[in-house]
Symmetry: D2
Amino acid sequence: MLNFGCDYLEGAHEKILARFIETNMVKEPGYGFDQYTISAKKKILEACECPDGEVYLLVGGTQTNSTVIDAYLNNYQGVIAATTGHIACHESGAIEASGHKVLTLPQHLGKIDAAELKEYLVNFYGDETYEHQVIPGMVYISHPTEYGTLYTKAELEAIYDICKEYEMPLFVDGARLGYGLAAEGTDVTLPGLAKLCDVFYIGGTKVGALCGEAVVFTKKAPKFFFTTVKQHGALLAKGRLVGVQFETLFTDDLYMEISRHAIKMANILKAGVVAKGYKQLIDSPTNQQFFIVSNEKLAELKKHVSFSTWEKVDEDHTAIRFATSWATKEEDIQALLELL
Amino acid sequence: MLNFGCDYLEGAHEKILARFIETNMVKEPGYGFDQYTISAKKKILEACECPDGEVYLLVGGTQTNSTVIDAYLNNYQGVIAATTGHIACHESGAIEASGHKVLTLPQHLGKIDAAELKEYLVNFYGDETYEHQVIPGMVYISHPTEYGTLYTKAELEAIYDICKEYEMPLFVDGARLGYGLAAEGTDVTLPGLAKLCDVFYIGGTKVGALCGEAVVFTKKAPKFFFTTVKQHGALLAKGRLVGVQFETLFTDDLYMEISRHAIKMANILKAGVVAKGYKQLIDSPTNQQFFIVSNEKLAELKKHVSFSTWEKVDEDHTAIRFATSWATKEEDIQALLELL
Amino acid sequence: MLNFGCDYLEGAHEKILARFIETNMVKEPGYGFDQYTISAKKKILEACECPDGEVYLLVGGTQTNSTVIDAYLNNYQGVIAATTGHIACHESGAIEASGHKVLTLPQHLGKIDAAELKEYLVNFYGDETYEHQVIPGMVYISHPTEYGTLYTKAELEAIYDICKEYEMPLFVDGARLGYGLAAEGTDVTLPGLAKLCDVFYIGGTKVGALCGEAVVFTKKAPKFFFTTVKQHGALLAKGRLVGVQFETLFTDDLYMEISRHAIKMANILKAGVVAKGYKQLIDSPTNQQFFIVSNEKLAELKKHVSFSTWEKVDEDHTAIRFATSWATKEEDIQALLELL
Amino acid sequence: MLNFGCDYLEGAHEKILARFIETNMVKEPGYGFDQYTISAKKKILEACECPDGEVYLLVGGTQTNSTVIDAYLNNYQGVIAATTGHIACHESGAIEASGHKVLTLPQHLGKIDAAELKEYLVNFYGDETYEHQVIPGMVYISHPTEYGTLYTKAELEAIYDICKEYEMPLFVDGARLGYGLAAEGTDVTLPGLAKLCDVFYIGGTKVGALCGEAVVFTKKAPKFFFTTVKQHGALLAKGRLVGVQFETLFTDDLYMEISRHAIKMANILKAGVVAKGYKQLIDSPTNQQFFIVSNEKLAELKKHVSFSTWEKVDEDHTAIRFATSWATKEEDIQALLELL
C-alpha cells in the first residue's frame, strides 16, 4: 500500500533521533532553559537574519496559533483570516475558546488579497456602528496556504503595509514553511519573511520533526509570553524535546535540505501525472499536489494508495491530494505514477 | 555538579529511544490512530483492569488538567482542589482561561480531607445564596501530591463516596503516579485507583518519557473529548510520539520497574540524610524528599548540587527538596550524602 | 426634526410608568423573586399557552443572546446563525467571548433556509474530519429578522424538524417579536411559536419597555440557568424593574395592542412612500421599512429627518430604513410623506 | 412585617420617577448618546472634581465588575481581592468566565491591608517560578466593604502607592459608595477617592435608583471600552434609563442627601440596639449593621422582621444584619427596636 495521505506519516529525520540518543542522559533544566533549546533559538535567529527577534519553541500547530493570537489580542479584538485559513475551519474553535472571533475574508486559492483586506478595513471603520462589532486586531495568513499556494514577496509587502497602517500585527502560519521556502520560483526567503511580518512560525511537525513549531517574533514577543504559553498548556517540562529537534534541523541547513527533497519529489510527481493527461485542480508549487480524477479511477486508486479526497468537482470527477514530505522516496512516486 | 533539582532532568528511557528508531519509518496515520497508540491504550486498560474505560494520550500536565477539567464542567461550575493543588497555583491560570474557577480547600501535606470536603459541600448547599456562587462540579486531587505524599485507599474511598453523592466526577492528577504506586507501604494500586475515580492520568513526562500523559477515563470519556483535545491544542499530528512511549512503558512492566528504582534511590537518600542528623520537613514515601538545613549549609550545598529551595523554616533554617527519578544513579546519591 | 431612526427612541409606555409609581414603595425581595416578576412570568406563560415552560426576565438583547447560548452549549459546540444574524455581526463578539464560534449559513432577506441547514449538517457529518471542527450545537434565528422579514409557520416547522433530528435546540431572537406577531398575513402566533422552538425571547426594549427581554423556555430551562444569568452580569438586584414592565405589557393585551399600532403606522408609511413612486429594497411586513432613494434626495432628507442609511444600491442610489414603533404618531408619518 | 433585609427593597427615589415621566416622550438616540446620559456624565465628573476623567453608565454590580476588570487585564493576568470581595465569592464566577483568576488576600473586616499586599507582591516576584503563575494585574477593593467597613484616606493612599509601584490599576467597587461617603468620621470624599484610584463606580442600584452603576475612570478609559461594554451585554439600547437616574441623583446633591438619610437611620438603629445590651459583630459606620443575638431571639425576630442571617457566632448565638437605605423610615426603626 502506497501512502501519500499527508506530510506527517513517519517519525523524525534520522539525525534528530541520533541526537536524542547522544544527548539523552545529559541533565538539563526544564521549560526551555536547556542548552539545546538555547542553541536552537540562536541558530534560528541567525537563519532569519533577525538578531533582535525572539524565538519560542511550541509543540503543535493549533496550539501555536491559539497561543500566539491570544497573546496579541485584547478582549475586544478578533483576527482576520481567509475563509479557508486553518484557524477558521480546522481547529475545533480554539481561537474562539480563548474569546476571540475569527473575521473572515474571501480566499483565492487559499490566499487573502491585499486590496480586499484594505477594502474590508475601510468599510469597517466607515460603518458608524463599528464599535458594536469585533475590532480587527491582527491578520493571520498561511504560507504555504492550506491549498499549497504561496504568496509572492510583493503580495506580502502589500498586506504588511496595510497591517502597519492599521497597527495590526501580521502573523504567518508556517506549519509547512520549509516546503514554501524550497519551492521553485518563490521570491520569499526566510530572512525576507522575517522582514515582512511581526511573527511567524517554522513548522517542524510536517518538516522532519516528531513535533514542534518554532515561533519567531521578528521584533519582540508580547509581554509575559512565557506565561501565556504555560496557560495554553504549550510549555514542555522537557523543553529539550523540541530544542534538540530544532537545533538539529537548523544545523548544516538540514531544514532546507529536506524541504528541497520534498519539493523535488512533488515536482516529479506533478510532471508525471500531468504527462498522463490528468488535470490539476490547482497548480501548486509546494508539497501538496491536487489532481482531478474520474470517480472510477478514484475507487480503483483507493485500493492501492492512501491520499486525501479533497472535493467533488462534478458528478463524475473528484479532486484528490497527494502530499510529499522530507521522507518521500522516489520509488514510491514511480509506483504511484504506474498506478495512474 | 550533582543535580537533584527535579524528576525531568534527562531525556527518555533507552528502550523508548530504541523503539523510536525501530518504528521511525513506518507510515502511520495521525492524531492517535497509529498502531502504537492503539496498542498503548490497550496495554494501559489491561494494566488498569478497566476494560470498558477509554484512554487518550496527551502531551503535558497543565494541558491535561485544563483539557480534562474543561471537558467535564458546565459554564457555571468550578473545580475543587487543595490550595496547594497544581491547578490552583502553578498553571498560569489555565483553568480560569477556560472559564472555570478553582475552588480551594485547605491542604494537609498537600492532601484534601474527606470530612472537610463534605463540610464544604454541606455549607455550600446550606447557604441560601449558593446559586449566586460558583457551583462545585468536580474534585481534583494529586496522587502523589505536590508534597510527595500519598492518599490511602480508605482516604480515596471516602473522597469518592462524597463525589458520587454530589454527582461530581473525581479527577486524579497522576503526573508522578508511578512514584506513588511504587512507594513502600501504599495500598493504592493501579487497578485500585481506577475503581476509585472517574478519570486519572498516568504521568509519562516525569516517569521515563520525553513527554506524555495517559488520561484514563474509568467509565467513558465525555462526549466529543477528541474535539476538546484539539481545541485545547493538545492533539498531536504525530500521535505516535506519545503512542510509542506509552506502549514501551507498558510493555514488560517497564513503567513500574523504573518507578521502583526511583523509590529505591529516594529511600537510600532519606536513610542517609536522616542518619546524618538532618530533620525532614515531611516524611515523604515517594521520590521527592524534603529536609531542613541551616542557611550556611544551604549556601555551601548550592556550590555543588542543584536542588529546590522549598520554604523558609525559621531565621536560620530552610527546607530543601531533592528529587530522584527513573534515571537517578546510586553513585550520585552517595556523592550527595558525602556533601551533607 | 422628524425621527424614524430606530424603535427605541422614547422611554416606556405610559402604563408602565404609572405602574412604577403605583408599586414604588412596596418592599419586595430582589433577584426576580418580587411579586411583579412572578406575576409577569405567569401571564407570559399563559399568553404562550405553555404552562410547563419557564420564564426568565433579562435586560437587553446582546446580553440575552450570550446568556442563553452559553447556557446551552458545551465547550466544543458552536451556534448556527445567518451571516446577518445579530449574534454574527453586531454583538462585539459576545458569543465568542464566552468561548463559542458562530457558524454562519447564507441569509435570504435575513432568514436561513431549512434545506441549506440540512445540507450544511449532512456535509458536516459527512466530512471525516468533523471532529477537528466546531460541532454545531444550537440554531439561532431572528423573528422578525434584522431585515424586518418573517418566517412562515411552515418554515419554522421545517427548521425545527431538522433541529430535533440533530438534537440541537432552536433559539428564536424576538427582540422585535411583537412587531412580527402583529404583522398582517403572518401565520405565526405566540402560542404557535412556543410550539416550534426550545427557547425564544419576547423583546421589551423595542416594544414599549425601558428595557427587558422575557426569555421563554418552552420546556425546561438549562440546569442552573439562574447562576448563568448571574455570571453573565444579567441578574438585576431589583428584578422588579423588568417584572413591573412585563406584567404591564402582558395585562389586557397591551403588548399586542401597541405592536399593532406600530404595524399600522408602518403600513401607512409604506403605502404612502410607494404611492410616491419610490422602490422598496425589501417588502417588509413589520415595523422596519426599507426604501431606495437617490443620493440627492438622501442628502436633502437628512436635513429634516433622522433615519438609518442601510446600504449603497448603485452609484446614484442608496437604501434607507425608517422604523416605526409603539410610540410613532400618525402626524409624523404624514410629515415624513410630505418631505418625500 | 418589618423589612431590613437589604438596601434594594423599594423602587427608585420619587424624583427619578418624576423625571422619567417628564422626559418620557422626548426622542433621543440610543447607547448612551442621549442628552440625559451626557448631562449625568458631566455632573458626575464635576462632583468628582475630575474634569479629565471619563464616565460610563452600566446596569448592575456584577456586570460592572466583570466588564471593568476584563477591560484592564491581559490574558495572563488576574485581579487581587480580599477573600470576602464580592468578585471572589458572590458573582457566580463572572471574572473567571472572562478568563481571569481572582487572587485572594486575607480580609480584615472586609478590607485588605497595604502591608500584606506589598508582602504578597514581594513574595510573588521573589519566587523564581512566578512566570508559571497568574500575574497580578489589578487590585480590587470595595468601599464600603461587604462588611460595611470603610478604608481611611491613609489606607487608600498606602494601597494606591503600591499599585502605582507595580503598575497595577486600582479599582474601587462602590456599589454602596454613597453610604460610605456619608458615614460619620470618614475622611474619604468623592473628589478624594477620585484621586486615589484609577477607576471606581458610584452605585445607583442600592442608593436610590432602579438600576445603574456609574463607572468613573479618573484618567482615561481603556481603549474600546464601549466595545467591551457591548461584548459584556452591558450596553443599554435605551441608555436614558440610567442616564435619567444619574442625572437626577447628581442634581442638587440628591445622591449625598439620600445617603445621609440612610446613615442617620443606621445610627439611630445602632444606638438603640446597643442600648438594649446587644453586642455588635462589627462596629460598622455605614448602612449595614451587624448584631449578635441569641438563637431564641433569632427565631422570634424572624416572625416579625426580614433581615440577613450573617454567620454563626457560637452554639447559642448568631450574627444578623440589618440594612438601612435611602428609603428607610424612622418609624420602622422604632418598631424594630421595640421588637428587640
